[in-house]
Amino acid sequence: MLPELVLQLTRAGFLALLWLFVLVALRVVRSDLYAASGLRALVPGGGRANARTGRGRTPRQLIVTAGALAGTRITLDSRPILIGRADDSTLVLDDDYASTRHARIAQQGEEWYVEDLGSTNGTYLDRAKVTGPTRVPLGVPVRIGKTVIELRS
């Protein structure tokens, strides 16, 4: 048997190491929470400089606020977002009221525009039906079938 002191020290040391593992894991969880997105794990303060000055004004993510996919977030980059029932859409809806290729949300300059791709049931920006490319302001709901999405900063 080990001397009592060594036993006590190793016992406490092991528990401390176990908790260190937990804390490291929780730190990774935390950095993901700051990114507020399932896609990008930004370390707080480590973002690009213009990312910080643009916060609050330019849309940075797309959030599904109602419908079967509610809660999903997509971090926006320069690529367009395709919405529809097709498997290769960015947001794949399985909603009887959505078309295979329903709508596209794309960036032009600093603004994001929504465009209906000839869907059967139409795309609505707030209450108005979208006919041509229409600018999507921050926080205004876009309704596609039973799904509602918003752009957030």
Binding site: L2, L7, Q8, T10, R11, A12, F14, L15, L17, L18, W19, F21, V22, V24, A25, V28, V29, S37, G38, L39, R40, A41, R48, N50, T53, G54, R57, T58, P59, A68, L69, G71, T72, I74, D77, S78, R79, L82, A86, D87, D88, T90, V92, D94, D96, Y97, S99, T100, R101, Q107, E110, E111, L117, G118, T120, N121, P137, L138, G139, S153
Partner: protein, 479 residues
């Protein structure tokens, strides 16, 4: 509010490569290897074994095994969640150390009495771990897109039900171990098909709910501020209830029955967001439990032991009574690894792994282990939130919840919060089927988290199909 932006910077910078988290995963795996090796060294020291260099080799072998898994993730699911695999590695490693520690106690006991040394469980469990990791890699390799799984949903459902029912129909000589008919034993190898059935049924149920969501959200009667479904839409839930009662009666297994019904209920709730399903499900569950209590002796014994294990301490209450004493002996700081007497609890290596760990690591160590489980479950649920298709959401939520419910019932049972059910702690307890099946489960979770975290599809959109080939779509008349 208009996003007027007159800053000169126009074109956004080319997107930097997204962080994959693989680096932190490898670091945490190495950390887990250090912890497991340390635990093994403490056990050997406290059990008066010789501390040799062999320990180092065991630690390195363990690390190598999980590094293989890590590289499989790196190759097949590069954006998968970085925390799930290290959590699993740590839990599995601690489980192996504890099983080895209980083996040593059994050997010492046998030597003292003069019996022939009992078979060591550790070598079997190590073999099962290797098989589990092989299945883990195979699932990651075979299932490249979780959405493809929904195509095989009905096959999975059928195979799942057959696997669940099979031990109940086979003769007891093949399927019965310790009073529960859960096994298929061929020669020395026994498997519990129910563990695999669990995953297959979750796949089936996720696909089924995506297809038939309308059926479950059709408005019925409003009562007490909740929308209740129409009675005729209750069919699938009643079927699941009947199946879980069947498992309880024929296979005499409280745990699988509870687990199966709980998973169905929660997936239904996740799919429909209706509290009324939970209310209905819980009330028929309580009804079923009351009837089972009246009719079946084995259920009554479990409940009586739960209410007062010390009424018949030397008989039916011995196991849980000893487990409670073990946890009490451990106290806040534990006795130290290898320095307690967890072997006094019958089945300390499987059903009562929790009390063994609690005795030697104390409340401090046990709560760390519970947080590791919690991290694993929340990462699974987070993948469910972030993934962009309904089937993936339901599948991930179902899989993560299955682990959560299983942990709750085991720990609740061992600490006398709820009646004992006889499930195993995922990754920690001794048991081949449970370990292998849970590795497959984790591989699926990683696959879904990869889909949730990977960068958006770069493929240009395919041209629209000609109108003749386009699917028929429902059109709602404007109101």
């Amino acid at each position: 509010m208009a996003a007027v932006d007159d800053r000169p910077s126009a074109a956004p910078a080319a997107p930097a490569p997204l962080p994959t988290g693989r680096g932190i995963e490898l670091v945490l795996l190495a950390f887990a290897a250090v912890l497991v090796t340390g635990a093994l060294a403490l056990v050997e020291a406290n059990q008066e074994q010789q501390l040799t260099q062999a320990l180092l080799w065991v630690g390195l072998a363990y690390l190598a095994l999980f590094t293989v898994a890590h590289f499989a993730v790196r190759t097949f699911a590069p954006y998968a969640d970085p925390l799930i695999l290290p959590s699993v590695a740590l839990l599995n490693g601690l489980g192996l150390v504890m099983i080895h520690r209980l083996d040593l106690a059994e050997l010492a006991q046998a030597a003292a009495v003069g019996d022939p040394p009992p078979t060591e469980l550790i070598s079997r469990q190590v073999a099962w771990t290797a098989i589990g990791l092989a299945l883990f890699v195979a699932v990651l390799w075979l299932v490249r897109d979780h959405r493809k799984l929904s195509r095989y949903a009905f096959t999975a459902g059928l195979v799942g039900i057959v696997l669940l029912a099979l031990p109940g129909l086979l003769p007891s000589s093949i399927s019965e171990v310790n009073g529960a008919k859960l096994w298929i034993r061929i020669g020395p190898v026994g498997i519990q098909p129910g563990e695999f059935a669990k995953i297959l049924l979750i796949i089936f149920f996720a696909a089924f709910l995506v297809q038939k969501r309308e059926l479950f959200t059709t408005a019925g009667r409003r009562f007490l501020g909740m929308e209740f479904p129409r009675p005729r839409d209750l069919g699938p839930l009643l079927l699941a209830w009947g199946l879980s009662i069947g498992v309880l009666v024929i296979e005499r297994d409280l745990g699988s029955s509870l687990l199966f019904f709980g998973i169905v209920l929660v997936m239904l709730y996740v799919a429909t967001e209706r509290v009324s399903w939970l209310v209905i499900g819980l009330s028929i569950f309580v009804g079923g439990a009351l009837i089972a209590y009246q009719l079946f002796g084995h259920v009554r014994v479990r409940v009586q032991v739960w209410l007062d294990p010390f009424a018949d301490f030397n008989g039916t209450g011995f196991q849980i009574g000893q487990a409670l004493f073990g946890l009490g002996t451990g106290g806040v700081g534990g006795t130290g690894l290898g320095a307690g007497r967890p072997d006094l609890v019958p089945f300390a290596y499987s059903d009562f792994m929790l009390s063994s760990l609690g005795e030697e690591l104390g409340l401090i160590g046990l709560s760390a282990i519970l947080i590791v489980y919690l991290v694993m479950i929340t990462r699974g649920l987070r993948s469910a939130l972030a993934v962009r298709d309904s089937f993936g959401k339901l599948l991930a939520a179902g899989l993560a919840f299955a682990i959560a419910l299983q942990i709750f019932t085991v720990i609740g049972g061992a600490t006398k919060l709820i009646p004992l059910t006889g499930l195993t702690l995922p990754f920690l307890s001794y048991g081949g089927s449970s370990l292998v099946a849970n590795y497959a489960l984790v591989a699926l979770l990683l696959r879904i988290s990869n889909a949730a975290r990977a960068p958006l599809n770069r493929r240009p959109a395919a041209p629209l199909p000609p109108i003749a080939e386009a699917g028929t779509e429902l059109v709602e008349r404007p109101k």
